[in-house]
Amino acid sequence: MTTSAGFLTGLTEPQRGQLLALAETVRFPSGARIFDEGELAERFWIAEEGSVALDVHVPGQSPPIVETLGPGDLVGWSWLFPPYRWHLGARTLSPVTARQFDAAAVRDRCARDPDFGHALTCAVGSVIGRRLRGARARLLDLYGPPRGGGR
């Protein structure tokens, strides 16, 4: 009884193989900072196990978490678009195993193989779209008190 969704399902089997050929498996302990807001986005990850929090630097307080990611999720998309700098920070909430990719190598592969590049860009775009829809839905404060009051 399993589902098989996740970032990689946006690619064909051969494209998945091409991408994973560029990956190495890495492990992070719980509480590790993976990247910080404003840093160069030189790598990205696909989580396999564990949980990752995306957060924002706010002076004087611990970074508020804006979203959590889990197995199958793409960790980071700023590596694909100029200026290649992280818009958020990321830290692990538990021990995490992930596939790690060198961003420059993947971008180079995209430039040399337009079909692969298009598919990967679409897959990343789909992730960005889902996160944008989620952020907008949360802006609506759907679970808050009904606007205009209730009965």
């Binding site: 009884m1 399993t2 589902t3 969704a5 996740g6 949980s51 929090a53 611990s62 508020p64 978490i65 804006v66 979203e67 959590t68 889990g70 197995p71 199958g72 909430l93 889902r130 829809r133 989620g134 839905a137 949360r138 609506l140 404060d141 759907l142 679970y143 808050g144 008190p145 009904p146 009051g149 209730g150 009965r151």
Partner: protein, 269 residues
């Protein structure tokens, strides 16, 4: 039964800052048995009447459990009741959750906010009848950790079935998921083509969830939503709860997505 019957409050549990669960027992003859997904019109004297879904059963079998969030004058009056107080109850009204549709397959329950209340009796029944289904999973979204309903029970349920919880706004100390409920649809196990899904929460959340589930392969005819419009009479006469050809107090509140999708896309409805 369309005449309010007197029920006495015999239990009151505070769930969150603005939400309580009331346990009611009949003063006289009980109303016909309610099924999970159906609702009652509950009268708070002298404020008025509101629809409340069944959120549980009682050991006596004749009582009713309703979880009410104080958002207006009637619901605030109900939330302020104490054991010994009386209410008037009409019902049962509406269509129940179709548990038979899930026989032999996976059940996926997706709740948002107080939408967990109408799903709770369905979950409890499914957990009590494990041989009827391949598996049961629960996904819950809430505004903040403090707004999570039945928090202790969620821990108990998680020992018997996969339960995934997420919040929109974490508070200090929260170590769970942050994000919308649709982000959790890949975090619990189910086989989409063999799954029956039950959704209850804000309509925007249910639409997004239904679309995502159908995209994953869950048949639209097996995605059930609990829809809400202004319920008044409860008997399909006043028309206040009309959604196109449906009168939701009679033809709903539980409606399958293959029927609801087009209706919910009409802005005038």
């Amino acid at each position: 039964m369309n005449v309010p019957q007197p029920y006495q409050v015999v239990g009151r549990d505070r769930e969150t800052a603005d939400t309580v669960t009331l346990t009611l027992e009949p003063v006289g003859d009980p109303l016909p048995a309610f099924r999970p997904g159906q609702f009652a019109m509950v009268y708070a004297f002298p404020r008025g009447e509101v629809p409340l879904s069944l959120s549980g059963t009682t050991p006596s079998g004749t009582g009713l459990t309703h979880t009410v969030r104080a958002v207006g004058p009637v619901t605030s009056a109900l939330a302020g009741l104490r054991p010994g107080h009386h209410v008037g109850v009409r019902g049962p009204f509406g269509t129940p959750w179709d548990l038979a549709a899930a026989r032999g397959g996976d059940l996926l329950l997706v709740a948002g906010g107080v939408g967990l209340a109408p799903l709770r009796p369905l979950l409890l029944r499914a957990l009590d009848e494990p041989r009827d289904h391949r598996g049961v999973a629960l996904v819950v979204g809430a505004r903040t950790p403090a707004d999570l309903l039945y928090r202790d029970q969620c821990d108990t349920w998680a020992q018997r079935a996969p339960v995934a919880v997420t919040v929109d706004r974490p508070e200090p100390g929260w170590t769970g998921n942050v994000g919308v409920v649709t982000t959790l649809l890949d975090r619990v196990p189910y086989q989409p083509r063999n799954t029956t899904a039950y959704l209850c929460g804000p309509e925007v959340m249910m639409r997004a969830t239904a679309r995502d589930l159908v995209h994953r392969g869950v048949p639209a005819s097996r995605v059930f939503l609990s829809l809400e419009r202004t319920m008044r009479c409860g008997t399909g006469h006043c028309g206040q709860c009309q959604l196109g050809p449906l009168l939701l107090c009679r033809d709903g509140p539980v409606v399958a997505w293959d029927r609801a999708e087009a209706l919910l896309a009409v802005r005038e409805l």
